[in-house]
């Protein structure tokens, strides 16, 4: 009886995960297909068309994807650095320091976790527009540097939860030894919360890499296009003409996220599980 249910579970799992992953596997095959083979459900192309990747890489006139990848990676690098510093600083303040209205601001922080971006996007746009920041990366960097932007409140919240789990005796004894609060944060807590910071780095990368709305609004010059915008441009300009190139470039664009996922699976689950569970 138990054997039978186990086999049944295994069977269902196998079928379900095959269905789930089939489009992805098909995608990998399709990236090597010619346009004629594209509409077939079969996984494997009759011949590997590597030129999809080579031509796709140079599909946008005067630019290559090397340019867009360096734009994207530069932006992600800056966003990750400023996010890690600002969110850990703020989280330490909320978790360890005692100041007036702390609970009030904490409630505001929780509220921003649920606030739909649409409510602030228009005034933000007019603000950045009047500052001359449209077509620069400042609309992404400055909010992140102030523990905001995509995922900002979530990162602060996640780090608060993590810091609360660290025994208070630690900072008390450091305090007795005459350590300043900033040094306690910098020398003691930053090394201790490394695992949680890795989670912050991962999600900061993933969400900003996939962000479409913000990049669509604020980046209009091809020269500063990110990978996401370059893909969109390819998609618009050559609709239905060369799917092989489009799918090949799309596939390459999710590689960084996939690599990150396989390199740090454990942190993913940790990050998700700390959002709302004990």
């Amino acid at each position: 009886m138990i054997q039978k249910t186990k086999a049944l579970n295994f069977g269902i799992l196998l079928v379900a995960s095959m269905i789930m992953i089939y489009p992805i596997i098909w995608w990998v095959g399709a990236a090597f297909k010619s346009n004629e083979e594209m509409s077939r459900p079969g996984l494997f192309p009759s011949a590997l068309k590597w030129s999809n990747f080579i031509d796709g890489w140079h599909a946008i006139p005067n630019y290559s994807f090397t340019h867009f990848y360096s734009n994207s990676l530069f932006l992600m690098g800056v966003l990750i650095i400023v996010s890690v510093i600002s969110s850990s600083l703020v989280a330490f303040g909320f978790a360890r320091l005692d100041f007036p209205l702390r609970n009030f601001w904490f409630v505001i922080l929780m509220g921003t976790l649920m606030l739909p971006a649409q409510v602030t996007i228009i005034p933000q746009y007019t603000m950045f527009n009047s500052l001359g920041w449209v077509n620069t990366y400042f609309p992404f960097i400055v909010p992140h540097a102030l523990a905001g932007g995509i995922g900002g409140s979530f990162f602060v919240f996640l780090l608060i939860q993590f810091i609360r789990g660290i025994p208070k005796e630690l900072d008390e004894s450091a305090k007795i030894d005459g350590c300043s609060w900033f040094r306690i944060y910098w020398n003691i807590f930053l090394p201790l919360i490394k695992p949680a910071l890795v989670t912050v780095i991962i999600y900061c990368f993933l969400w900003n890499w996939d962000d479409f709305f913000g990049q669509l609004l604020y980046i209009g010059k091809i020269d500063s296009y990110t990978v996401t915008l370059a893909l969109r441009m390819m998609n618009d300009s050559q609709s239905a003409t060369d799917w092989g190139q489009l799918l090949a470039m799309g596939l390459v664009s999710v590689l960084p996220s996939a690599i990150l996922f396989f390199a740090a699976q454990k942190h993913f689950v940790d990050g998700i599980a700390t959002t709302g569970l004990k």
């Binding site: 909320f94 100041f99 228009i122 005034p123 905001g148 900002g152 664009s253 709302g276």
Partner: protein, 314 residues
């Protein structure tokens, strides 16, 4: 987590009363949170106030906003058919995609809870779509496989369906976005999985001795014990489903015949193609009110169906 926070608060309050409301580190505390505080004031609270003000004005970006009272709102409710249509479409999307997503997530989480061979491989396969799901690349993939020449259309035509594009027919275009959303149930599933692991195995063992069937165990143990997690997933998914944008923008562009013109897309079009910033701000506030109402409603009903162990149950 809640209980812990509560006791911490109470301890804090007690200590404060004794010391006659003195804070240990008022200045340094504000120094630490000052980046966030500046960000929240500059980029959240001030823009929210502004957007509320804009919603009562006529504001074509290049000119200054002109006060028109509740003009935008009356226009929206009485003249704007597309507004009503996009609300209807968005609600259909939320009401169908979120429960389906959560059901699949729970079902797969229960299967994955038992330790089977190759568990981590299965988990990866099921989680992967939601890892990359928000990206434009997935939207393009979807556009291809559900388009006129896509393989899904080819497969369905074996079963006698006319070989027409799924995303370009008004009857099925919204369905394709729903399927895409449900396909990404992985992150909810991981949360369910973590929740399931918290349920003590002794509950199942004791009920099995009493002769409870698997089905009865599911309804009497699993569902009640998991209900706080279900509530969390439900609220997060509802909030994000109301704001669905990228997929509709890339895959269908709101068409055909506005059949996928979801609310966030309609708002984007008003704001950034027609530059009607006042009207779009009013739309944004309607969206906020709808999301807030639905969230409050879910919380209000949750008293009836969410079981908290610490309260001793009902």
């Amino acid at each position: 987590m809640n209980a812990q926070a509560r006791t911490e608060n109470e301890q804090g309050k007690g200590a404060r009363l004794k010391k006659n409301k003195k804070w240990e580190t008022p200045w340094i505390g504000y120094a630490f949170i000052s980046p966030w505080l500046a960000g929240i004031l500059l980029f959240i609270l001030w823009p929210m106030g502004q957007s509320l003000y804009f919603s009562f004005t006529d504001y074509p970006l290049l000119d200054a906003p002109k006060w028109i009272g509740i003009g935008n709102y009356t226009k929206m409710f009485t003249e704007d058919d597309l507004f009503w249509k996009s609300i209807k479409i968005t609600i259909v999307f939320v009401v169908i995609s979120v429960p389906l997503k959560l059901m699949f997530a729970l079902f797969m989480a229960m299967l994955l809870k038992q330790s089977v061979k190759g568990m981590s491989l299965f988990r990866t396969a099921v989680y992967f779509p939601s890892l990359v799901g928000a990206s434009i690349a997935i939207a393009m993939l979807w556009q291809n496989i559900l388009g006129r020449d896509g393989f899904v259309v080819a497969i369905l035509s074996w079963f006698g369906r006319e070989p027409v594009s799924i995303i370009n027919s008004p009857d099925t275009s919204l369905l394709s976005l729903i399927v895409l959303a449900v396909w990404q149930f992985g992150s909810s599933m991981v949360i369910f999985l973590a929740g399931l692991k918290q349920i003590p195995g002794s509950l199942y063992e004791a009920s099995a001795i009493d002769g409870a069937s698997k089905l009865r165990q599911f309804f009497k143990i699993t569902l009640p014990m998991l209900s706080p997690v279900i509530l969390f997933n439900l609220i997060m998914q509802v909030i994000s489903a109301f704001q669905m944008f990228t997929q509709a923008f890339v895959i269908t562009g709101g068409g055909p015949m506005n059949s996928t013109n979801v609310f966030a897309l309609y708002l984007y079009e008003r704001a950034f193609t027609r530059f009607e910033m006042g009207y779009a701000s009013a739309l944004a506030w309607i969206l906020l009110v709808i999301i807030a109402l639905v969230t409050v409603l879910i919380f209000a009903t949750s008293r009836k169906w969410v079981f908290y162990e610490t309260e001793g149950g009902k």
